[in-house]
């Protein structure tokens, strides 16, 4: 301690601050470094591209979550969160697959119905959160369970295989050598970035989430903004569904589970990338890519699949705990 304080009394608190703020990123950095040393395949183009492809659905649902978190505030309990997005994505995936494979529908009709279904889930969330006044973590968790149940009944818990040419195109096409799902992710990122960071709507949404009274006294009525955020999350879920259907050539049971953990992890890891330490669209995308890289890398070094989920759970706890500690220091 005395040796340290000779180096500079401000060094220790400064180091602690950096560790708290950037700790989750440092952790990821160390892990990725280890993975690239431990597996020669990790840094191969093939693995990087496949990781990006896997990141696509995670990033897209996480964009939806980012919108809800912005509008509800980033307090994990009282703030805004939407855990039902992965279930909506699973629902939309099932609807697209069923329409294309069993109902003989065209792609456009399948997409419209899938979006409607996901937005309907969002609308129910709006009812629960803004009209009835439940906390969003509680109501969307219940909605997650409900919608997952609906999907199981709807699909009889079976796989639906899709061989629609448009979906196969999304799966196989590689413009400029980059897989189509990655392009979809980039396009969604630009759209959500404009919406959240460059539109008056996004700015007002942030005001609503940051301080509802401030927003109200500035002439912004909070409720419509919060309502819109849940509906937009539904649109994000439907968009992710397109990538999911293409990647899996249809819908299969259980895709929602991993997506839930990955989405939450990507979103909150992402906030460590931002100057303001809040959830941002670029941060979320980087977060999703990190999560996908990590999952892939762990598989490459033959870590058992069952371990990977537990590992991610611990990571979420570390990230959220670091954020909480930081908030406590600021208070």
């Amino acid at each position: 301690m005395s040796a340290l304080s000779r180096v500079g009394p401000d060094l220790v608190p400064a180091a602690r601050r950096v560790l708290l703020k950037r700790g989750p990123l440092l952790l990821f950095g160390a892990l990725l470094l280890y993975l690239s040393v431990a597996s020669s395949a990790f840094l191969s183009t093939a693995n990087l591209l496949s990781s990006l492809t896997q990141a696509a659905p995670i990033a897209i649902v996480a964009f939806g979550l980012a919108v809800v978190v912005r509008g509800g505030g980033d307090d994990v309990v009282a703030g805004g969160i939407d855990l039902s997005i992965p279930a909506s994505a699973a629902l939309a995936t099932a609807v697209i697959s069923d329409q294309l494979a069993n109902q003989g529908a065209g792609v456009l009709r399948a997409l419209i119905l899938a979006t409607a279904a996901a937005v309907l889930v969002g609308a129910i969330n709006v009812l629960l959160v803004t009209v009835i006044g439940l906390t969003s973590i509680l109501s969307t968790l219940a909605m997650y369970a409900t919608v997952v149940g609906v999907v199981r009944v709807y699909t009889a818990n079976r796989r639906i295989t899709v061989d629609d040419p448009t979906m196969l195109f999304v799966r196989d096409a590689r413009p400029l050598g980059i897989p189509m799902p990655v392009w979809v992710m980039f396009a969604a990122a630009v759209a959500f970035w404009l919406l959240l960071h460059r539109s008056a709507f996004g700015m007002r949404l942030q005001a609503v989430g940051g301080n509802q009274e401030a927003a109200a006294t500035s002439g912004i009525r909070p409720r419509p903004y919060i309502a819109a955020s849940f509906l937009i999350a539904g649109v994000a879920a439907a968009t992710a569904a397109v990538v999911l259907v293409a990647r899996g050539s249809g819908s299969s049971p259980g895709i929602d589970e991993r997506l839930l953990v990955d989405m939450v992890l990507a979103t909150f890891v992402g906030s460590a990338f931002s100057r303001r330490n809040v959830v941002t669209v670029p941060g979320v995308m980087l977060g999703a890519i990190l999560v996908a890289l990590m999952s892939n890398g762990l598989i490459l070094i033959r870590v058992d699949n069952s371990w990977i989920d537990g590992f991610k759970g611990v990571l979420i706890l570390i990230v959220v705990a670091a954020a909480a500690l930081q908030n406590r220091r600021r208070a």
Partner: protein, 527 residues
């Protein structure tokens, strides 16, 4: 209708305004008239109807009766949109800002500049910076985050938000200096002065009469839901008249006389520091003594009190309670050793709002009214009733939840808790912030009574008049260090403020503080 005959045409005319809430006539035939370009003060005790009439103007409440004319047009239905269109803007008491938003974003909150749906960030930044520097005298970077600003700067951002569209004809300031320290207030004042230069009228609501006389051209006094008088050409001599109108009688003295009997040392610190906000603090509080701690926001004043109370860890030095070294780790720990904190934000930190007055009063001393862990309701009620009577808490209904008492009475409920606790050392943080003059006098009386019964009091406050009025000695903190200790009869308010703001060198140590001069009278109700 109203013809603009001269520049003295009222920008706002509210007449015969009445408003009743269940059980209370909040406003009864009240009136308020503000001329173009003037700064108009509005004063009155808590509950006099100031906030009600402002909320009616803001469209939050709807009047039962009366007439409202804004800028020549009579408004039948007052909505926030309608008054905004007529150029009325509000600067609310609370800091309505988002910590992680930038200065530019905050200034333009609600009226963002956009083109084709997209925000014009650079334009917003430029306009915000220009407006802040030219109109409010604040040179800030538009990209700075709100959380990196001081509270005066945050207030200026709020003012800028109200004014930046240049459509303001009348700005309503509700207690704008409440969260600010003495040195920071001048920046808000000069912002109001600049408004007047630009012909924008202000309605300025404040508890601080000195601010009213410093800033306002005229003042309207409210009492019991109606306007009881107006004064113009204000100066310090008008304080007494304002107070007379506010309370409806001559108020004898704000601060009680006292001749302290000092006993042994009950609280002592030596070399106390928290490694960041204060250091090397040596203090001594004796039985029967009231010691003040003066300091600006950020001087370490709040942190010192918090760390004594166990809410914050100290890193160096030590504390002695009753002559014995004590490590206080939490307020409960402190209470076990006979030291209690009456916190700054009583409504939030001091009371459990949903619990009854009885429960709140007995909260810290439940074992006294319990047997084998079971609370004896009768004993608890009796004790609460005694305190309610003694402190004149109204209404005298001990089973009523704390949230249904008015601000001043809530304050007294917290005080009652520590009176029954019979603590040896009492720490007060801002004991009268946001309290009207009548309740202030009562709180000072109680503090004095506690000291007379043998407790030692340490009082941290932002209000120099209060410290000199009620304390025997005042230690002055500047940037975390004690720079002076003064006796109440040694210095005036101006000198204390000069010491606190660091604009004057410390005099020789005042040392012992036997027998302060009595009778600091209401006329010194000033900062």
């Amino acid at each position: 209708m109203a013809q603009p005959s001269s520049g003295r045409e009222p920008v706002l005319e509210m007449t015969n305004i009445s408003k009743a809430f269940p059980g209370v006539q909040a406003l009864d035939d009240a009136g308020l008239s503000i001329r173009q370009g003037e700064v108009h003060g509005l004063v009155g005790e808590n509950g006099a109807g100031k906030s009600t009439i402002i909320k009616i103007l803001a469209g939050v409440y709807h009047r039962d009766a009366g007439r409202i004319v804004v800028d020549g047009s009579a408004l039948d239905e007052v909505t926030s949109r309608a008054v905004h269109e007529h150029g009325v803007r509000f600067v609310h008491q609370e800091l309505h800002l988002v910590p992680h938003m930038t200065v530019a974003e905050s200034v333009f909150m609600g009226h963002e500049l956009s083109r084709a749906g997209l925000i014009r960030r650079r334009e917003m930044r430029r306009r915000a910076e220009t407006f802040l520097s030219e109109r409010l005298g604040a040179d800030l970077d538009g990209e700075t985050l709100i959380r990196d600003l001081g509270s005066a700067e945050r207030k200026l951002i709020q003012i800028a938000r109200a004014l930046v569209d240049e459509g303001a004809r009348l700005v309503v300031f509700d207690e704008p200096t409440a969260p600010l320290a003495a040195g920071e207030i001048e920046r808000v004042f000069s912002a109001v002065d600049r408004l007047r230069e630009h012909g924008v009228a202000s309605l300025y609501v404040s508890h601080y009469l000195a601010e009213i006389t410093r800033l306002c051209d005229r003042v309207t006094v409210f009492r019991n839901g109606t306007d009881v008088g107006s004064l113009a050409d204000l100066d310090e001599q008008d304080h007494r008249e304002m107070i007379r109108l506010m309370v409806g009688r001559e108020l004898g003295q704000l601060f009680p006389d006292r001749r302290p009997e000092r006993g042994e040392v009950v609280l002592a610190t030596s070399g106390l520091g928290d490694g960041a906000t204060f250091s090397d603090v040596d203090l001594e509080v004796r039985r029967g003594e009231i010691v003040g701690v003066a300091g600006l926001l950020g001087s370490g004043r709040e942190e010192l009190i918090d760390s004594l109370a166990g809410l914050r860890r100290s890193r160096s030095g030590h504390v002695e309670l009753g002559g014995q070294r004590a490590r206080v780790r939490s307020p409960a720990d402190a209470l076990d050793r006979g030291m209690a904190l009456v916190p700054r934000d009583r409504r939030n930190d001091g009371l459990v709002l949903a619990m009854s007055a009885t429960d709140n009063i007995n909260l810290a001393t439940l074992p006294d009214v319990a047997r084998h862990g079971w609370i004896l309701r009768d004993a608890a009620d009796q004790r609460a009733r005694r305190m309610v009577e003694r402190l004149d808490i109204r209404p005298q209904a001990v089973e009523r939840p704390a949230q249904l008492f008015s601000g001043g009475n809530q304050q007294k409920l917290v005080l009652a808790r520590w009176l029954v606790a019979a603590a040896d050392v009492l720490l007060f943080d801002e004991p009268t912030v946001g309290v009207d003059i009548g309740a202030k006098a009562e709180i000072y009386e109680l503090m004095t009574e506690m000291a007379d019964r043998g407790a030692g009091l340490l009082v941290a406050s932002n209000d120099a008049a209060e410290l000199l009025g009620v304390c025997d000695r005042v230690v002055v903190l500047v940037r975390g260090r004690i720079v002076a200790t003064v006796r109440r009869d040694e210095v005036g308010i101006d000198e204390l403020i000069a010491l606190v703001t660091g604009s004057e060198e410390a005099p020789a140590d005042g040392g012992t503080g036997a027998g302060g001069s009595p009778a600091t009278d209401v006329e010194e109700e000033a900062r």
